[in-house]
Symmetry: C2
Subunit: 142 residues, 2 copies
DNA sequence: TCTTGACTTAGAGTTAACTCTAAAAATTAT
DNA sequence: ATAATTTTTAGAGTTAACTCTAAGTCAAGA
């Protein structure tokens, strides 16, 4: 029916320390306590943790995640702020993904470059491999 | 012919403080100094900064970037280590991109959810919008 | 009941990556 | 030549996000 902090740690991959830290920072205002003071996590608390991990994984700070949770606690008057926050995060995420795509191209270039050098030595690597040379020009110009 | 630290800061978007910090950490062992001790960046130093930004942008720590640079300085005996490092980084990057894709789906769900609620109120939102309900089930299960 | 392991708190410590300060020296503009 | 701007250094300070410690409480098994 409820999970101990250790069980949640195992499920989420976070440590118990981190979960307590998140609570202290106001990210888990829903988690109940047993009569003797032990935390009791519900399935819905796990859902919140999934969302927190999602936002954290897209680069949102704990402070901004807390802002969202505070808006949530405030009720329907903050629906628009919450929608706008997700829209902003979506834009940020799209920017991030296209940036990663560019990084991937550079890394692919490096892999091709080193693979070629290791296979055949560095002399004339671009002459011997026109595609490599083209890629270099595309990425670095000149 | 050469750039001052301020010019490089402008070009790269990094601060002069950060550039000095990178140098101190061993990330810029190529940057020359003028007779009177001022840093003089070359175009090739800018290329290094581009690569550093790429690796940093894919989540590599400055310590690991320095390791790569140290290998580079060591010469051809480290070609394989450098290739393997880029291959590892490529895997990490692929994992990252697929993770971001999943995060994007959750955020799209939230945007759809809040948009719907704001437009029509929360009652029966899933009944009125079967696609939203399906997405919820796909992402959260149950 | 005893023991073992999990949990509690407040608060201190750590790490990475900056970010800033101060005072002096170099460069550029007038 | 003078003034304003930029750069230099060593080293101190900051921030986010943990991460750990200590001393005590709680819970489950033999």
């Amino acid at each position: 029916m409820g999970y101990s902090i250790g069980q949640v740690a195992k499920k989420t991959g976070l440590t118990a320390h981190t979960l307590r830290y998140y609570e202290k920072e106001g990210l888990l205002p829903f988690v109940k306590k047993s009569g003797s003071g032990l935390r009791v996590f519900s399935d819905s608390d796990l859902d919140w943790l999934v969302l927190i991990e999602c936002l954290k994984g897209t680069g949102m700070s704990l402070k901004d995640i807390k802002q969202y949770i505070d808006w949530y606690m405030e009720g329907d008057s903050t629906l628009n702020q919450r929608l706008e926050m997700f829209k902003r995060q979506k834009l940020k995420l799209e920017e991030q993904m296209s940036q990663l795509q560019k990084h991937m191209e550079k890394i692919n270039y490096k892999i091709a470059y080193y693979t070629e050098i290791i296979a055949h030595g560095s002399e004339g690597v671009f002459e011997r491999n026109p595609e490599l040379a083209a890629e270099r020009k595309r990425v670095y110009g000149k």
